[in-house]
């Protein structure tokens, strides 16, 4: 197993404060003691941090990117350019609690790069937080050149490929805790619904019981209707989208956050 850890997820959101509360309420994610209220809301399962970033001008609202913590950033950037000399990584403004650099894979899927113990990390990334019972399990992206991207993450971040069914054209790579699911983007998958561009697709949580999470969601909606999930699977097109989501084999429960970001539940 490699030393790079996929330990950062970012969502850009029109309702970032409320969405952070949703993840805290339903999954027990924790905020840092020393959080910065003027910026993104950052929550964590004790290992993986998730930044819920206010949507800015020119940005999309949705699941946005992910990030790796590595032992040596320079070495990682060398590996990226060795893989493909046209790929670049750029230094980020120092206000970020996690990202020191950002880069992209051959299909332009964006990721952040951070370094353990480098000194600039803030918020949940700087504090040791107790692990939560419900925790992040996978991050899925849908991309045009699945095989090449899988090769990229395996070579650059030493992620280990997981076994898959012989007729599955997706790729699954693990860092020992989190799985990166690289789903093959195909136009034909979008028959009966609106086609979606390449990019991040969903996040996965490992939970003690899918039924218990659904029960808790029902209770949460009753307590605070602002913290309710979006409906999924309704109508012919909703059903087609849900069927497509269900093709990811890494979970059995399906729901969304308050803005519609797909959440996959994988029972322990």
């Amino acid at each position: 197993m490699g030393t790079a850890k996929l330990n950062h997820i970012a969502i850009a959101s029109d309702y970032y404060a409320m969405n952070a509360l949703y993840y805290q309420a339903l999954f027990g994610l924790r905020a840092a003691k020393n959080f910065r209220p003027a910026r993104a809301q950052v929550v964590s399962d004790g290992v993986v941090g998730m930044n819920i970033v206010p949507r800015r001008d020119g940005r999309c609202s949705g699941l946005d990117h992910f990030g790796f913590e590595v032992e040596d950033i320079e070495d990682t950037i060398d590996k990226i350019t060795k893989f493909d000399s046209s790929l670049v990584a750029i230094k980020r403004p120092p206000v970020r609690p996690y990202a020191a650099f950002s880069g992209h894979d051959p299909d332009a899927n964006i990721f952040d790069i951070s370094q353990r113990g480098i000194g600039f990390q803030e918020d949940v990334y700087a504090e040791k937080l107790e692990p939560t019972t419900r925790h992040f399990d996978h991050f899925a992206l849908r991309t045009l050149h699945g095989e090449r991207c899988a090769q990229f993450y395996s070579e650059v971040f030493d992620m280990t490929p997981l076994n898959k069914k012989f007729d599955d054209d997706n790729y699954y790579l693990t860092d020992g805790n989190m799985t990166l699911a690289i789903l093959q983007w195909k136009m034909e998958d979008f028959a009966d619904m609106d086609p979606q561009r390449l990019g991040p697709d969903h996040i996965g949580f490992k939970v003690e019981s899918v039924d218990k999470v659904m029960e808790d969601l029902d209770d949460l909606t009753g307590q605070n209707p602002h913290l309710r999930a979006r409906s999924i699977g309704y109508g012919m097109e909703g059903e087609a989208r849900l069927d497509m989501f269900k093709k990811c084999p890494l979970g059995t429960g399906h729901l969304t956050d308050i803005e519609g970001v797909y959440i996959h539940l994988n029972e322990e």
Binding site: C60, P93, H104, Q196
Partner: protein, 263 residues
């Protein structure tokens, strides 16, 4: 005959409000045949804009564009011969008969002139108005190749009004501006992946337009433009937009979608 770039689509968590913004600021019109249960479709007399409610699993953003061709069957064959998949769409769509993508994975819709599938504003989008959609900006991994693709397949002509280093293809009225997506452009701010970047509008009188924007925002803060250019990161993003667009005034819609305004 060149095809027409006459469809733009936005996904929004505030889709009804977004429509009021474009109707108020640019005089875009809804259709008397509108279907209230679905997306809002508004038009400027040439380009139709669908503002679709954000659905589960989908981001909110400037999402895709659409092209009207004289004859669909041969165009579908041409695209398939290039190894691209062309999908027939559910018949509830007011514009799209088919959807496909360019070799970089940018999704676009296809329809046929006078097609039986057309609904809402697309059945009568033929009036004159002062403020119109004039261009869209697309950032992509292989800009030069994509420009060749759109020019060849849709017989679009090179435009003489393009930002430096970009490719502009026009149907005579609407221009598709194809920009090279480069991570280095995002140094100093938030990063956005490849895809549609901004919508361009042409206005007759910029001074009057700016005054009206202010007046509308003062009267109804819910449809005020979201701020742009604020703080060091906002300033960088605005500078990038200014450098890679053709307008002299820049603003955003209430969701933060960037608009490039040309007089």
């Amino acid at each position: 005959m060149p095809s027409l770039i006459n469809h733009v689509a936005i996904m929004s968590g505030n889709y009804a409000l977004e429509s009021k913004f474009y109707e108020s600021m640019f005089g875009m019109k809804n259709s008397p045949k509108a279907r209230p249960t679905r997306a809002v479709s508004i038009g400027d007399g040439y380009v139709g804009m669908n503002i679709n409610p954000r659905r589960a699993g989908r981001p909110a953003r400037l999402d895709h564009f659409g092209i009207q061709v004289d004859e669909l069957a041969s165009k579908v064959k041409d695209l398939e011969s290039r190894g691209l998949t062309v999908l027939k769409r559910p018949d509830t769509r007011p514009f799209a008969a088919y959807s496909t993508h360019d070799p970089d994975g940018n999704v676009f819709d296809l329809t046929e002139a006078g097609g039986a599938n057309m609904k809402d504003v697309y059945t009568h989008n033929d009036w004159d108005q002062e403020r119109t959609i004039s261009h869209i900006g697309l950032r992509t991994m292989n800009a030069e190749k994509m420009a060749e693709f759109y020019a060849e397949v849709f017989d679009l002509k090179p435009s003489n009004q393009v930002p430096e280093g970009a490719y502009g293809l026009t149907d005579g009225r609407m221009t598709l501006i194809i920009l090279q997506w480069d991570l280095n452009d995002y140094a100093g701010g938030g990063i956005v992946g490849p895809g549609l970047d901004y919508i361009g509008f042409k206005v007759k009188d910029m001074k009057a337009f700016k005054a009206e924007v202010q007046d509308i925002a003062d009267n109804n803060p819910l449809i005020a433009p979201a701020p742009i250019g604020t703080g060091p990161e906002g300033a960088k993003r605005l500078e990038m937009l200014q450098r890679t667009s053709i307008g002299s005034f820049h603003m955003s819609d209430p969701d933060g979608i960037l608009l490039d305004i040309v007089e």
